[in-house]
Assembly symmetry: C2
C-alpha cells in the first residue's frame, strides 16, 4: 500500500490536510466532490455571474526566498476578487488550486490561512480547493497557486465603461505596493542584476526588501461595493499586468481619452528604487507596474463629490487623478516632471 | 520598453494569445476583467451553485514527454465537471489557469483547444482564463494547468447519498483508461523502474504507451444529466485519486456498505500491465486507480431497470457492479480471483 507514497504522493497526508483546511476555513463541508453555494437572489432580478481566475506570478519566488507563506494567499484572493469587483459584481465565493512538489503540511497550512484571510477581507467564502502533489513537476520547494472567484450582479448594475462620458472624473485608489505584478522584472533587477538580498533595507525604504515586496495586494471589495450598488460608478479598472494604460484602457469607450495627471499622486518609493536600480525607461515602468494606483474608478461629474465623501467615510484614501475628454488615445498620462 | 521581455515576460505575446483563445472558443467577450455568465433560472426554484476545481497531475509530464498537448485540456475539464456532476449539478461554465515558463503560442493554443473541446463535450462554456508566464518557476517546457467549473442545481435535486438504502443497486460506468490519477506511480513503475519509453507497445495493448496513457478522461455529463434531472440517482461518485473505495465511500451513509463484485467488470489491460511491471499489491491498485470504473451511480432497486435502459439509449455502457447492504465498512470489494 506504499507504492504511491514511494513514488512521491502521500495520499494520507493529503487527506489529513483536508482536515486542516476545514479547520482553517471553519467550513466542515469542504472535501465533497464540489463546493456548494446556495444562491440568495433577494433584490436581484436579472442575475449575472462574474468569474475571475488568476495567480500571483513570480511573487511566489520571493515568498519562497523569504520563506514567508502566510500572506501570498491574500494576494491570490485579491487578484481574483478585484477583477470581479471591476465589473460591478459582488464576490460570493472562492476556490484555490495549490500545485506542489511535496506536501509539507505546515507550509501548506500557512498558504491556505492566507487564502482564508483574503476571503474574509473580501467578504466571500472559501468553499473548495485542490492540493495537488506533483513530484518531478515542482522542485526546490516550489509551488504554484491559482485562484477562482465567482461573484454576482444584477445585470442593470454591471459596469463596463459604456456609460463613461466627457467630463467624468477619474479617481485613483492607492495600491499597497507592487501588488502581484511585474515580479519577474523586479527579481531580474534587484536580485540578478544588482545582487541585492531580501534582507537589504535600501535607502528611502522603511523595511527590508522581503517585507516590502511581499506586502499583500490591497482588496477593494468592501469599500467599493456600496458605490456599485448605488450605481455611482461608470467605469472601473483593477490595475494589474500592463499597468494603468492597459487596464483602464479596457473600459474607456472609443472616441474618449482618460487624461491623467501624474503629479496628482506619488509613485511608491519601492518603484522609484527599482526604476533607478534597473535604469528602466518610463515606458517600462508604465507598462509593468501599478505606479501606486491599484484600482481606478470613473464617475460622472455630478457624482464625484459624493463618491469621494463615501470613500472617506469608509477610510479608503482616494484622489482625483484625471478626467475624461474626447480623443483618440484611450489613456494619456502627463509628461514626467524631472 | 523591453526590460520586462528581457526578464522573461512577453506582454505582447500574451495579448496576442488572448486573441487566439477568443478564436478557439468562439467567445469574443474573453479578455475582460472577469468572465460573464447570465443565469437562466427557468425551472430552478431554489438554486445552489456547485463548483469544482482540479488539475491533471503529472499526466502533464507524459504529455510533455510525448509532446502531445491537444487533449490534456479535455482531462482538465473532465476532472472538474465530473465532480460537479457527482452532486447532481449541471456544469454551466469553465475557466482555466495555465502557468508556464515561457509562452509558446502554438503549444498554448493546442492546450486551450483541448479545454474548449472538453467544454463542448460537457456542454458548458469557456468564459475566461489566465495564462501566466513565470520564468524561473517552470523550466524545461513544463507547465501546470488548473481548471474551475461552476454548475447549478435546484436544491431538491442535489445528490449527497443520504437517500441510499439497503437493496439499492450500484452501477458502474467504464473509464476510458487511467483518466488523470495515479500518474506519479505510473511514471515511477514504467519509466523509472522499467525504463520503458512512450513509444513502446507492451504485449496486450493495442497502442503505444504514449497514446494509451494520454487517452482523455471520460466526461459523463451529457449521458447522466437527464437521470439526475428525473431524480433517478440516489448517490454518485467520480472515481479519482483514492480509487473506488475512497470516492464511493464519500457518499455511502453510516451503517451501510456498498458490496462490489470485482468479477462484474474487467480491469483494463494497461492497469494489469502496470501492476505486473511494478509488482504492485492489490491494495496499491485499489487505492490509486479507477480499475476501469470512472463513475458510479447508486440507484434504488425500483429504478435500476429504467436507469440501465436510459444509459443504453444514450450509448453509455453501464453494468451493475454491486448493491447496498447493512454493514460497517462503507465499501467492500470482493476478493480477487486468482
Amino acid at each position: 500500500m506504499d507504492a504511491y507514497k514511494r513514488a512521491g504522493v502521500d495520499v494520507e497526508a493529503g487527506k489529513k490536510f483536508v482536515d486542516t483546511v476545514k479547520r482553517i476555513s471553519n467550513n466542515a463541508d469542504l472535501g465533497g466532490f464540489g463546493g456548494m453555494f446556495p444562491l440568495n437572489l433577494a433584490g436581484v432580478s436579472d442575475p449575472v455571474l462574474v468569474s475571475g481566475t488568476d495567480g500571483v506570478g513570480t511573487k511566489l519566488l520571493v515568498a519562497l526566498e523569504a520563506d514567508k507563506h502566510d500572506t501570498i494567499g491574500i494576494d491570490l484572493v485579491a487578484m481574483c476578487v478585484n477583477d470581479v469587483l471591476a465589473q460591478g459584481a459582488k464576490p460570493l465565493f472562492f476556490l484555490d488550486y495549490l500545485g506542489i512538489g511535496q506536501l509539507v503540511p505546515e507550509k501548506a497550512a500557512k498558504i491556505v490561512a492566507g487564502v482564508e484571510q483574503g476571503c474574509e477581507l473580501a467578504g466571500c467564502s472559501l468553499i473548495g480547493g485542490e492540493t495537488a502533489e506533483m513530484p518531478d513537476m515542482y522542485s526546490n520547494g516550489h509551488y504554484d497557486l491559482a485562484g477562482f472567484s465567482v461573484g454576482i450582479a444584477d445585470k442593470s448594475k454591471l459596469v463596463d465603461g459604456s456609460q463613461i462620458e466627457p467630463g467624468d472624473a477619474v479617481i485613483g485608489l492607492p495600491s499597497s505596493g507592487l501588488h502581484s505584478n511585474g515580479f519577474s522584472l523586479v527579481r531580474d533587477v534587484l536580485f540578478k542584476q544588482q545582487h541585492l538580498s531580501i534582507n537589504d533595507v535600501p535607502e528611502g525604504l522603511e523595511t527590508d526588501l522581503g517585507e516590502e515586496l511581499l506586502k499583500p495586494t490591497q482588496i477593494y471589495v468592501k469599500q467599493l461595493m456600496p458605490l456599485f450598488e448605488r450605481k455611482l460608478i461608470a467605469g472601473a479598472a483593477h490595475i494589474t499586468g500592463g499597468g494603468i494604460a492597459d487596464n483602464l484602457g479596457r473600459v474607456i469607450p472609443a472616441g474618449l481619452t482618460a487624461k491623467l495627471e501624474r503629479s496628482s499622486w506619488q509613485v511608491p518609493a519601492i518603484m522609484r528604487f527599482i526604476q533607478s536600480q534597473g535604469n528602466l525607461s518610463q515606458a517600462d515602468m508604465d507598462q509593468t507596474f501599478n505606479l501606486g494606483i491599484g484600482f481606478i474608478l470613473v464617475v460622472h461629474e455630478k457624482d464625484e463629490g459624493e463618491v469621494l465623501q463615501e470613500l472617506e467615510s469608509a477610510n479608503q484614501p482616494a484622489f482625483k487623478i484625471g478626467h475624461i475628454v474626447k480623443g483618440e488615445d484611450k489613456v494619456e498620462l502627463s509628461e514626467v516632471q524631472k
